[in-house]
Amino acid sequence: MARQAVGSGLQRTDGPAKVRGAARYPQDLPVPEGCLYAVAVRAPVPHARVHGIRPGGALSVPGVRRVLTWRDVRGSNRYGLMEPDQPVLAEDRVLTVSDVVALVVADSERSAREGARRVRLDLTPLPALTDPARACEPSAPVLHPERPAVGPHPNVVAVEEVRQGDPERVLAQASIVIEGDYETGWVEHAFLGPEAGIAAADGSGRLTLWVATQWPEEDLRQAARALGEPLERLRIVQTAIGGAFGGREDVSLQILLLLAARETGAPVRMVWDREESIRGHGKRHPFRMRYRLGADRDGRLLAVEADLLADAGGYASTSAAVLANAVSHATGPYAVAHVLVRGRAVYTNNPVTCAFRGFGVNQVTFAMEQQMNRLAERLGLHPAEVRRRNLPPTAQEPGAVDPQGLRETLDRAVERAEAAALPPSRGPWRYGRGLASAVKNVGYSFGFDDHATARVTLTQDGAVVRTGAAEVGQGVEMVLAQIAAQTLDLPPERVRVEWQDTAAAPEAGSTSASHQTFVTGNAVRLACLRARRTVEDLGGVDRLPPGGITVIETYHAPKTVPLRQRGRTHYAYSWSTCVADVAVDVETGRVRVLRLVEAVDAGRVINPLLFAGQVEGGAVMAQGYAIQERFEVRDGVPLTRSLGACNIPTAVDAAPVIETLAVETPDPNGPYGARGIGEVTMLPVVPAITAAIHAATGAWVDRIPATPERVLAALESSGAPDLGAAPNDRPDGSWIRHQARTAQQEHPGGRRG
C-alpha cells in the first residue's frame, strides 16, 4: 500500500531554519578573508552618448583597488535572456538609469562608495524617449541602431499578430459590441531580500558565485559569453532566496561580481541597498490596450479585436516572450471564433521591463475580463453565467483548457462567495461584488524545449534528489520531495532535495512560468520510477550496493510552436476564478478589499499548505496591483525609490478574508496530474476587484491601479455618484447592477458600441 506523500500538508523542510533566523541569504554569508567590496557607478541620466569613463579621483581614495570599465570585461560585454543587447559595463552610450558605467572595487564598502562618487563620466545627455507610442514614430531616435528591425520602426522589440476568421466583418454585424481602452503601469517586484552576493576563485581557478537567482545555469551562460570565459570555469551556489517573482530571472549583479573577482583575484562582495535594488532590476511591463468585443444577444462571444502596446524600456530582456504571451492570452479562456490581436513591445529610455508573475497575462486578463463584465452588465447576466456560455470546447489535445474544470472554478467560487451577503451602504461606503476568471500557460512555450533533469541517488537509508530548481519561497523543494517520496514509496523525511550548487545539481530550468512543479516534478518522478524499477530488478532495497544506485532522467515537456506557426503554442495551462467583495468610499475614492474567494485548478494539489500559500500570496499581490501599488517614472527616471513609496499591501491593507478553493482536474502530462499555479493565482483578482468597484459605484476604472484619484475620476465620468441611493441593496442579493441603471450610465464602450 503506497504511502500518500502527494496531497499531504507537510511542513516545509526549510521552515525551521527560517523561523530561527538560521537560513542564510546572500547578505548573510560569512565574509571570506581578504574580501573586497564592489560598488556600481550607474548612469546619471537615462539617455546619453558616452565619450569617456575615467577613474578620476577614485584611485586616490585609500582602499580603492580597481575602477573597472567595459575594456576590462573582455568577452562580448553583452547579456540578455533572449538577445544580448545589454552591456555589462556601458561603452559609448547609456539607455537607462540602471546602466552600469563602471565598477569600483575596494577594501571596504566605505572606500568603494567614496571611490564611486569620484569616477568621472564624460557624456552628452540626449532627450529621453519615454512614450512607447512616440518611440514608433518615424522621427523617434533609434535606440539600438545595430539591431535588425523586426517591426515597422527599429525601436520595436517585437511584434505579434494573431488572426483567425473574419473579425472585422463579424464585429460590424454583431448585435452587441463592447469597446474599451485599458492601461496598466509599472510594478516593482518588491521581494524582501535585495540583491547581494559573493564571488571568489578557488584553487583551480574556477570562479564561484554565491547568489540568489531563479535560473543559475542561464546566468552562467550569459556570464561566460559576456566575460569571455569557458562555462566550465563558472559555478553558482544558491543561498536562501528572499523572494523573486520574476525579478531575479534577469542578470543583476552576477556578471559584475564574477568580473570583479576575476580582475582582482580576490573574493568580492556586493550588497545592494533597497534603492539600488529598485533601480537595478526590471519592472512589470506597462501596457496600453484597446479592445473591441462582439457578442450575440445571449452573450455568446463572436469576435474579439485587441491592440496591445507594451513598454520594454531600454533593453529587450524577455519582452518578446511577454508580448507573445499577452497576445496568445488576450481573449482569455473563452471560445471565440473570430480574433484579431496585434501587439507591439517597444524600446524606450524607461526602466527595463522583464518577467513578473503572470508574464504578460495579467495585463490582458484585466482588459478582457473588464470587457466580459461589461458584456454581462449590458445583458443583465450574472457574471458567472456569461462565462459559462463561453466555455472553450472540450479539449482535443492533452493539456488544453478543460471546460468542466473552468466551470468548476466558476461554480465553486460563486457558491462560496454567495454564502455571505454584502453589507448595506453606510455613510459614504458602497459595497460591491465582482467576478473574473483567468487562464495561464504553464512552462515555457512557443517552441522552447522546456525540460529539466533530475539525478536521484537511492540507498538503503533513503533518497537524495539533485536538481537545480531554485527555491524562491514557493516551496518547490517540498513539492519535489513529496513527488519523490510518493514515487519511491518512501517516508518524505527520508528524501532530501539538493538544488543549490550548479556543480552538483543538473539543470532544472528557470523557476518561472509556473514551470517547476510540472517540468522538474516530472523529471524527479521519471528518475524515481527508474530507481524503483532498478530496486525491484535487484530484488529489494536490502540488495542495494553500499553506495546505493544513482539514476538520471531528463523530462521534455510536449512540443510547442511559435505563435505565428500552426500548432499548439502552449503545452499546459492552469485556470482560476476569483470573487472579490469591496467597499468604496464614494467621497474619497478609497477602496478596501474585504474578502477574496479564489478557486484554482491545480490539477492535483501536491501540498495543501503550499497551495494555500500561493493562492493567498498571489491574491494579495494582485490586490496591490489593482488598487494601491505605485511605480512612477518621469523622463525615464524612477521617482519611486523606496519600498514605502511602492506602497505594497501591508497586513492592514490585505483582504482580511481570503478563501482558497482547490479544484483538481488532472493534467494528463502533469506529475500526478499537477499543473503549476504560481502565476494564475494572481490573474483573476485584479479584474474581480475592478468589477466589484463597478458593482459598488457604477464606475468602471479602466486604468490600474484604481487609486482614489482614479476612482473619483471614474465616478465623475460615469455620472455623479448617487450618494443617496444604495445600489447594492437589492432584494435578490444580486451583485449585478440593475439594467435600468446601466442604461442611464453608458460607459465608453456603450457609447461607441
Binding site: 523561523v19 533566523g21 524582501l192 516551496g475
Partner: protein, 154 residues
C-alpha cells in the same frame, strides 16, 4: 578619510554581555549582523519601511536599522537567535504549522514584532501590530493565523 574616534558601548544580546568599540555611525542592525554575526536579523530596506530588522530592545520591538549602535549602550537586546528555550517558541512553531513563512526573509522581523501582541488579540489588532512588517509572499493570511493560533505573547 579622517580617523574618527570609536564609541564604547556595553550591550547584552541574547543573554550575553558585550563591550564593544564601534564607529559612531554604525547602526544597531550592522552591529548585530556584521560585528556579532547575528544574521537572523534582516535588512530589507535600511530606512524603517519593511520591518525585517525588528528586534526587541529592553522588551520593545524596534527597528534596528533606524537605531545607532551607540544608542544600545546599557540595553538588553533579543534577536530571533535568542528566542529558543527548549526548542521553538509556540509562535515559531505556529509559523511552521500555518505555513506563515515562504521565502522567509521577513520571518524573523515578523516573529519579533508579533511577540509583543497581547494574548487574545483580535484579527484586526494582530494586523495593526504587524502593519510595519512587509511580506511579499504570503499575503499575511498564514502569518495572522499563526499569531492567532499561538495566542500572542507567551
Amino acid at each position: 578619510m579622517a580617523e574618527i574616534d570609536g564609541v564604547m558601548l556595553t550591550v547584552a544580546v541574547n543573554g550575553r554581555a558585550h563591550r564593544l568599540d564601534v564607529v559612531p555611525w554604525l547602526t544597531a542592525a550592522e552591529l548585530l549582523r556584521d560585528v556579532l554575526g547575528l544574521t537572523g536579523t534582516k535588512v530589507g530596506c535600511g530606512v524603517g519601511e519593511c520591518g525585517a530588522c525588528t528586534v526587541l530592545v529592553d522588551g520593545e520591538p524596534l527597528l534596528s536599522c533606524l537605531l545607532l549602535a551607540p544608542e544600545l549602550d546599557g540595553a538588553t537586546v533579543t534577536t530571533v537567535e535568542g528566542l529558543e528555550r527548549d526548542g521553538l517558541l509556540p509562535l515559531q512553531q505556529a509559523f511552521l504549522d500555518e505555513a506563515a513563512t515562504q521565502c522567509g526573509f521577513c520571518t524573523p522581523g515578523m516573529i519579533m514584532a508579533a511577540l509583543s501582541i497581547p494574548t487574545g488579540a483580535s484579527d484586526v489588532t494582530v494586523r495593526e501590530a504587524l502593519a510595519g512588517n512587509l511580506c511579499r509572499c504570503t499575503g499575511y493570511a498564514g502569518v495572522v493565523r499563526a499569531v492567532l493560533a499561538a495566542g500572542g505573547n507567551p
